[in-house]
């Protein structure tokens, strides 16, 4: 107990960083996923190929390997540290790699959501003169979004857990701070236990929030 109280400030800094990386990655993964999903459904074949290659590459290699490759491997052949700064390159690269990895899964979620909308809805939108963008924006996406919420929340929970893989490439977050504390105090049981509880609280509140959101949408809109 004693050891937890004493090191709590350090651990909480780690927690704050984990939350920050999670928020950034969750926002970016949805943006990336939406763009890639629209590309995958595009009439223009090269766009489809690019998006498909992206999804397959990121889904078929481990996130940890992607992180090592981009955060630590790339600086060996490119002067990225000079471009972005010694301090900033690893942080930006790690956040982006994580977002791209999660975005690959989100692409498939959004694509399935769009394809799940009845074809008649799109045809009705076209028949009143809507163009492709308006049809997506006002008719297809709002309906797709509702059915996408549960899988997207799952993916967000996965993203929070996956931020722990930033520690091995030297990015400070919850696990990283925990390892530092343990190196000084040898209190592995207490500190790892604390860290597990903190992740649990984060993800549990996320899933509670999403069931609340789903209930709201159920009542408001059909």
């Amino acid at each position: 107990m004693e050891v937890i109280w004493q090191n709590l400030p350090v651990i909480l800094v780690g927690l704050r960083l984990t939350i920050q990386y999670s928020i950034v990655a969750i926002i970016l993964m949805v943006v990336i996923g939406l763009i890639a999903a629209l590309m995958r459904l595009s009439k223009f074949a090269p766009l489809r190929w690019i998006a498909t290659a992206y999804v397959e590459i990121f889904r078929s290699t481990p996130l940890l390997v992607q992180l090592f490759f981009i955060v630590l491997g790339l600086p060996a052949i490119l002067p990225v540290n000079e471009w972005f700064g010694q301090l900033w390159y690893p942080i930006l690269a790690a956040a982006l790699t994580l977002s791209l990895n999660e975005g690959a899964y989100v692409t498939e979620i959004i694509r399935a959501g769009i394809l799940g909308v009845d074809r008649g809805q799109k045809e009705a939108a076209q028949s009143i003169g809507m163009n492709g963008f308006q049809t997506m924006r006002y008719i297809v996406l709002p309906q797709a979004f509702k059915r996408m919420i549960p899988p997207l929340v799952n993916q967000a929970a996965q993203t929070i857990k996956d931020t722990s893989l930033l520690a091995p490439v030297g990015i400070a977050e919850l696990v990283y701070k925990g390892e530092i504390v343990i190196a000084e105090t040898f209190a592995s049981f207490a500190i790892w236990g604390l860290i597990a509880v903190l992740y649990f609280i984060l993800i549990f509140s996320l899933s509670k929030f999403s069931s609340y959101l789903e209930r709201r949408l159920q009542v408001d809109k059909r």
């Binding site: 009845d118 008649g120 009705a124 939108a125 076209q126 009143i128 003169g129 809507m130 309906q143 059909r222």
Partner: protein, 240 residues
Amino acid sequence: MINVRDLHKSFGDNEILKGISTHVEEKEVVVVIGPSGSGKSTFLRCLNGLETATSGEIEIAGMTLTDPKTNIHKLRQHVGMVFQQFNLFKHLTILENITIGPRKVKKIPAAEANRIARELLAKVGLVGKEANYPDELSGGQQQRVAIARALAMGPNVMLFDEPTSALDPEMVGEVLQVMKALAVEGMTMVVVTHEMGFAREVGHRVVFMDDGLILEEGPPSELFSNPQRNRTKSFLAKIL
């Protein structure tokens, strides 16, 4: 109002429309009949560009649909379409279903769009349903909303693809009533339907389609009582 010349449409190797030519006058009500799979829906969908003609020419509402330079979105504002399955926007209220086209496509201010929508709801007999969602309405009510949604764009022509086929029998009348009122007002209409009573009473001309071709056409009284072709005779014998 509509001019179709030698319209062909294939899906892959499968030729569905095999050279359709016809003409629809302003304020004319044309009823299209024919056996299942004869290409009635495909023909109608070609008329507002939901299907792209393989060859041939379509002029509609003063525009040449088959000209690649024609703005298809602009054209569709002048060609209303009513579907068998209604296809109301499930996530929008009845009022929003009707206003979304005028607001987002024609950029009409919300207040004005709402005024138009309320007028149209009164016309189709659905005052008081503004705030409901489509799945809270009966099929007949939904189809009347779908008609109002199409009318809100101010079309010059209305296309109906079996508008009453998905309805319980007791709701067919209310939809036909609305369509009849529209015809009386002088709307140009092309209606695919098996409602022979409607065809007789409201239609100026009946077109019989079979296997991707127009086999026979004429005023309802003549075509129904004195069909010239054997295919028409046997089809009418089945449904009359």
